[in-house]
């Protein structure tokens, strides 16, 4: 029935995977973070060494205030939009449209993976080397302003965006709250509040940086929780299987695809 409606026909003409959005998801983080890396490269040395100097306020503290405002705004608009534009009649979805949305959801998780790479791997270990180059005089060093208050919020915003997209647009994920998905997005989110413990401890106890200090173990545990991506992927594949599982099995039987 739904396939004969105007919306159903229009959906059939849209590409299954919108490669423009895929390219956008990849490019936006890459270009933005390469600009950030350039900014750090120049102003880390030029204005980021002495946090009591006025240029630190200009080039780094203002960066911090700006990014926090922008993150709160972006999160509100993005999450709000995804929720407000939710599909209120998921039962009417055509299989073709369901497949297309599953592909779009994959783009969202792709963006999350790319964002978490920059946050958890690139800017986190980068902070390691900045610690070896300065003896810090503030909790808000240049690399902390980027690592904790820019790259972590960005992957958190992306993660909840992906979660909300699946929850509001895919019948498989709409059946409840996916436990592994919640663990995947809420767990690494907890890395951000854990910065509170971390900086509190560092402010009281030590200036030098031992990475394996027990004070850091909170980050380790919250990092583990991203492993729930395993369960999320299983659910994503199950969601795909409800729309193309039968066709893929038949293709295997016909020898079009290796077993």
């Amino acid at each position: 029935m739904a396939a004969t409606t105007a919306g159903g026909v229009a959906a059939q003409d849209k590409p299954l995977l919108d490669t423009k959005w895929l390219a956008f998801a990849f490019t936006i983080y890459t270009v933005f973070y390469m600009w950030v890396r350039w900014y750090e490269g120049v102003y880390g040395w030029a204005a980021g060494l002495d946090s009591f100097a006025p240029e630190f306020e200009t080039y780094w503290m203002n960066f911090l205030y700006t990014e926090i405002v922008l993150e709160v705004t972006t999160a509100s608009i993005l999450w709000g939009y995804i929720w407000k534009s939710r599909d209120r009649n998921l039962a009417a979805i055509t299989p073709r449209e369901e497949l297309r949305r599953n592909m779009t959801h994959l783009i969202w998780v792709f963006a999350y993976a790319w964002a978490i790479y920059w946050g958890a791997s690139y800017f986190t270990e980068q902070d390691g080397t900045w610690h070896q180059t300065i003896v810090r005089d503030t909790d808000f060093t240049p690399s902390h302003i980027i690592e904790f208050y820019l790259s972590y919020p960005i992957y958190i915003i992306t993660g909840f965006g992906a979660f909300l997209y699946a929850k509001t647009r895919l019948p498989y994920f709409a059946q409840g709250l996916s436990l592994p998905y919640l663990v995947t997005v809420v767990g690494p989110f907890m890395i951000l509040p854990n910065v509170g413990l971390n900086e509190w401890g560092h402010t009281f106890w030590f200036m030098e940086e031992l990475f394996v200090a027990p004070l850091h173990y909170g980050f380790v545990i919250f990092g583990w929780l991203a492993l729930a991506i395993a369960g999320v992927l299983l659910q994503i594949f199950a969601s795909f299987a409800t729309v193309i599982g039968k066709d893929v099995c038949e293709a295997v039987d016909q020898g079009l695809i290796a077993k």
């Binding site: 497949l99 986190t124 003896v135 409840g176 173990y217 929780l225 992927l233 038949e250």
Partner: protein, 247 residues
């Protein structure tokens, strides 16, 4: 909606879609693992991995395999049990090495000018191949835990020896015996890691001096068995597909 209506127009398109999912799924798994395994690695064995003068016979050899067998064990449960894909340990290690190398090159060297021959990461691929092949050939997690876990610990130091041996030749430096690695740490100043932070073998009055590396490697292998066993359950839990009910 007809139950017979198909989402794809041909079987060829179904194959194409499934291939696209493969590529995107691989990207997702690789980079999420890269982020989380790297965080875990940095904060459990990072200090030994960053600097050539921390790569000693006692602590580095013990700590690194033990803490790093975790994610491979968990990923093996996911990828082997659900898909019969035998590259779980290797993909974890490749993801970690990718994250580390990008950082050492573009940040440790690129931003703060530490020489790459001072901040290169440890080699991990040999152990990962052994773990994967153990599981693929035996199909048994118990076998992989015991034989693979032990081998994972034992192969670590030999796997790295060709890289670190050249920095262990002795030098008489201002009247003191130092290895090249010691001199590197002495020369390239690290403000945040003063010498007393460095945890390396210093000898005790209750130990033999000669065979520290193999003894540490054996201990590390034994511990890796236990950690593999625990983390294989961790992987099982993380592979759950439960839904919480809307309330």
């Amino acid at each position: 909606m007809s139950a017979l209506q198909s989402a794809v127009r041909s079987h060829a398109e179904a194959v194409q879609v499934s291939r696209t999912i493969d590529y995107l799924g691989l990207f997702i798994f690789f980079f999420v693992i890269c982020g989380s395994y790297h965080i875990h690695a940095m904060l459990t064995m990072g200090d030994w991995d960053f600097w050539s003068d921390w790569k000693d016979r006692r602590l580095w050899v013990t700590v690194t395999p033990i803490v790093l067998v975790t994610f491979p064990a968990a990923a093996q449960v996911f990828l082997w049990e659900r898909f019969r894909q035998p590259w779980a340990a290797t993909v974890c290690v490749l993801a970690l090495l990718f994250g580390e190398w990008v950082n050492r090159y573009f940040n440790f060297w690129g931003w703060t000018y530490f020489p790459v021959n001072f901040v290169f990461p440890a080699i991990l691929v040999p152990g990962a191949i052994i773990l994967d092949v153990c599981l693929m050939l035996s199909g048994s997690y118990l076998f992989t835990a015991i034989i693979g876990g032990l081998a994972w610990g034992l192969i670590f130091y030999p796997g790295n020896w060709p890289i670190i041996a050249p920095i262990h030749v002795p030098v008489e430096y201002n009247g003191m015996l130092m290895s090249i690695a010691d001199i590197q740490g002495y020369n390239y100043v690290r403000t945040g890691t003063p010498e007393y932070i460095r945890m390396v073998e210093k000898g005790t009055l209750r130990t033999f001096g000669k065979d520290v590396a193999p003894v540490s490697a054996f201990f590390s292998g034994f511990m890796s068995i236990l950690i593999y066993f625990m983390w294989h359950f961790v992987g099982r839990w993380f592979s759950n597909v439960r839904f919480l009910k809307n309330t």
